[in-house]
């Protein structure tokens, strides 16, 4: 079942250039059908999962490729499978203006399978494998436009990701050597007897592995690939560079911290302090860069950098509550950020405007898009009643609860970042809706809201932003159970 879920999108993707589609809409139906079917299968699996591990292949020794559904995979797979059909729908419309559609959908759909592979990986090696694979299938997407800029961006993306994986790999080795198993077990698998007095070395390796996986999660100073990768078509930027790829980095760090090294081993050590400082710095750094940036997508990308570190901040608190906060933000941020990215994409698609200062007065021409953008902006700021508030609340509560003075500082970083978020998000909103006195909008006559394929995903995400904000009890309880290892 799991393997089928992972393979289905990959095969569907490969079929795209091979099948002779007469009309574009046939291709759309085929792809959308495949993606929706897969999402349904994923949800079926999540709701009827069993504890058993599915072994696919044996590597060397006790290293194997195997899959299992546990709490974290439920969260991540559920999130990804929830977003993908909408993103695909959006991509159909968006890609009408771009070339090489087939190769785009080929890799776009394959990525779905690979991401699910990361989600369902039962051990560190499997995750590492799909993690590398994810890099490889997404590079063509970044390179899609084949402009010089895109080539440079994809190059950088590759260097960073592969380089990061190289250091994550060292962590993997440590777990293989000093752990009882490489399987993910909440609480960690390290064997203290084997470690002996090498604690410090292991901590150093943890920091290295953290930074390694952190490359994908755009931890400072390894974040510069993310804004550059924004040259990719918006569905890619939105889904992959705000959710699937970057969250895989965060997901991998959570796996590494909670399921491999174990929080007992790490909590209170200098390693925790180090990574927490790095994460806190990234939170503020990402936001401040976002404020300076005038290209909309790049601005959102910097915002993603900062928000990813929110997730990591939750993760490095290293308590169940912290994990709950991290998971909450992992899910909620996905919805918020994809919504704002899709708005940016809609603006680019409809008007070819890509800089903040070009947006004056557009709010009246594209009320739906900008209305939704405003909501996602408010949510990202953390206005109560929207999703962002809840996730920040959970993160902050975890930090307060941890009694770690550094984490108190982390809360301050969260709030500084919230303020900066307000600056960079609301300045867009203000421009769009308050263009200034006697603004002449005759040049904007042609701009209007996009069609339903773009709007539907936006509306759905907005509904979820509000829903999560107002009624988060059940889902947060579920996250708490995940963090406590119930599933």
């Amino acid at each position: 079942m799991i393997i089928c879920i992972i393979l289905l999108p990959i095969i569907a993707g490969i079929l795209v250039p091979l099948l002779p589609f007469h009309k574009r809409c046939h291709k759309e139906i085929f792809l959308e059908g495949a993606v929706i079917l897969n999402s349904i299968l994923v949800w079926y699996l999540l709701l009827h999962h069993s504890e058993s591990t599915f072994l696919l292949a044996h590597f060397t020794g006790d290293l194997n490729i195997s899959f299992r559904v546990d709490g974290m995979s439920m969260v991540f797979a559920g999130l990804v499978s929830g977003l993908w059909p909408f993103a695909t729908l959006y991509a159909f419309e968006y890609m009408t203006k771009e070339k090489h559609e087939n190769s785009f959908f080929l890799f776009y759909t394959m990525t779905y399978g690979v991401t699910l592979g990361i989600a369902f990986a039962a051990n560190l090696l499997t995750m590492y494998f799909f993690y590398e694979l994810l890099t490889l299938v997404t590079v063509p997407l970044v390179m899609h436009t084949l402009t010089r800029e895109a080539v440079l961006a994809s190059r950088k993306y590759l260097y960073y990701s592969l380089g990061g994986a190289a250091f994550a790999f060292i962590g993997l080795i440590m777990v293989i050597v000093y752990g009882n198993t490489t399987d993910f077990i909440l609480g960690g698998v390290l064997d203290l007897a084997k470690i002996g007095d090498r604690t410090n070395v292991l901590l150093l390796i943890y920091v290295m592995a953290f930074m390694g996986f952190g490359v994908k999660a755009a931890v400072c100073p390894f974040n510069s690939w993310l804004p550059q990768a924004g040259v990719a078509p918006t569905p890619v930027t939105a889904l992959l560079h705000a959710v699937a790829v970057v969250k895989s980095g965060a997901f991998a760090i959570i796996r590494l911290t909670y399921y491999s090294f174990g929080t007992e081993f790490l909590r209170g050590t200098w390693a925790q302090t180090t990574v927490m400082i790095v994460v806190m710095f990234t939170i503020v750094y990402g936001c401040s860069r976002a404020v300076k940036e005038t290209h909309i997508k790049r601005r959102l990308a910097y915002s993603t950098i900062s928000n990813l570190s929110y997730i990591l901040f939750g993760a490095v608190i290293m308590t169940p509550l912290g994990l709950t906060g991290a998971i909450t933000h992992l899910v909620f941020h996905a919805v918020m950020k994809i919504s704002s990215f899709f708005c940016a994409g809609a603006i680019m698609h409809q008007t070819d405007k890509r800089y903040v200062h070009e947006l004056n007065g557009l709010g009246y021409r594209m009320p739906c898009v900008f209305g939704i953008f405003t909501i996602s902006a408010l949510a990202l700021m953390g206005v109560p009643g929207l999703a962002g508030f809840i996730s920040k609340w959970n993160l902050a509560q975890a930090a307060v609860d941890s009694q770690n003075p550094l984490a108190y500082g982390g809360i301050a970083c969260l709030l500084i970042s919230a303020l900066l978020t307000a600056i960079y998000m609301l300045s867009i909103v203000v421009r769009a809706f308050f263009p200034g006195k006697d603004f002449d909008d005759s040049s904007l006559q042609d701009a209007h809201d996009p069609n339903w394929k773009m709007l539907l995903p936006l509306f759905v995400f907005t509904v979820f932003i509000i829903l999560f904000g107002i009624h988060s009890q059940s889902i947060v309880n579920f996250f708490y159970d995940v963090a406590a290892g119930v599933y």
Binding site: V383, Q397, L419, P435, H471
Partner: protein, 489 residues
Amino acid sequence: MYPILLPILFPILAGLCLLVYRKDLERKLLTGITGSCLVITGALVISVLALAKKSLILFYLTETLPIYFQIDEISVIFSVLTVVVFVCAGFFAFAYMKHEQKEKRYYGFYLIAFGVLNGLCFAGNLITFYLFFELLTLSSFPLVLHTGTREAIMAGLKYLFYSLCGAYASLYGIYFLYRHCDTLTFTAGGILQASPASPDGRFLLLVAFLMILGFGVKAGMFPMHAWLPTAHPAAPAPASAALSAVIVKAGVLALIRVIYYIFGADFLRGSWVQTAWLTLALVTVFMGSMLAYREPVLKKRLAYSTVSQLSYILFGLAVMDQDAFMGGLLHVLAHGFIKGTLFLIAGAIIFTTGKTRVDELHGIGKEMPLTMWCYTIVSLGLIGIPPTGGFVSKWYLAIGGLAGDIGIFRYIGPAVLLISALLTAGYLLPLTIRGFFPGADYDYNALQKREPARLMTIPILFMTILSVLIGLFPNIITDYLTKFVSSLL
């Protein structure tokens, strides 16, 4: 259903409808709709205050965080003030906003802000309060940047970011309070368990200071007051009136709620936080007056005056004494009515003459006698001359300050208040003097009677009368409040 929600939701929804409706409305229709909405909301508030059940848990945001409403005496004071000022300034706006673009947008946000303020007054716990506090910022900054000039937009953004900055500083505190309190429900006397001497307590003192600073931003407390003098002149006059009379009071309300209902006055009394707060408040009082004194632009001068006067209230709160607290509450009302009137008058002057600087306004009293009489009366009130409202509140403040257990501030406080009152006279009365006594070289032949429209004068008159009434019959309010104030302290 939930009657307590009506005064909150009705104006918000009405405002949203106005905003979302895409076609332009006939001006008469628009003002008609807005006017009736304002009146209905006012009626709803009053009836809710009088009749409805006093508390309501709406739903749970997270497992332990309810959206909870509760009406107590403080709510009553603030919502009465809100209703009066919003309705008056609203009607004033119907006349004033004629020469502005995009009126619909203004009324939409105005209504929303009204609803949000009601929510703020009725909020029964800190989270609900914070929710409306954020919403208030978001719904009121469009009012500031409404005119759309570059200056206005920058002022609006400045207001927005200062406010958010303050809100987030307070949120930091809320995160910690939540851990140390079982609930965040407002309870008279505070709910904090920890003692200020314990390590947790020491940290909580810091948190308290942070929250004072944070919410103090909205109340224009030094050092985060700078948004106020920028935002007020940029906004349309009725918006400045609402802003200065009510919206900044949200900061005061916030501090009352946090200090007296969450921390508890006992927790802070005698701590370094109280000292710091008193210092800041007094510095602000003095500095605001000084700056106002130096300021030639009328609206800006009034804005500085607001900075100074708000810190009177904060001083009252910071003393943590019954009389001072009572004085603070009275000053909330008095200053609300007075400053609302003053800004409306400034608006009326701008509307009719187009002049903004005080030194241009020679003989204005001859042109607009009724308006300028009102101006004079409320100015006297603000200075604190009996029998106006300002006198009573300042009396209580001074009494409280002298009686309070605040060390050296017992003497400094009232002294600063007095000096500031002098300065107040210094910056408000010249307009009266020049207005009515333009001097020998004034050209009486060019004099025109330019009394503004009824829609403008009636709200001004109404609020002036109210401000005098407070001064004449303060007992109604003090009697109503005494028991409750003693329960707080």
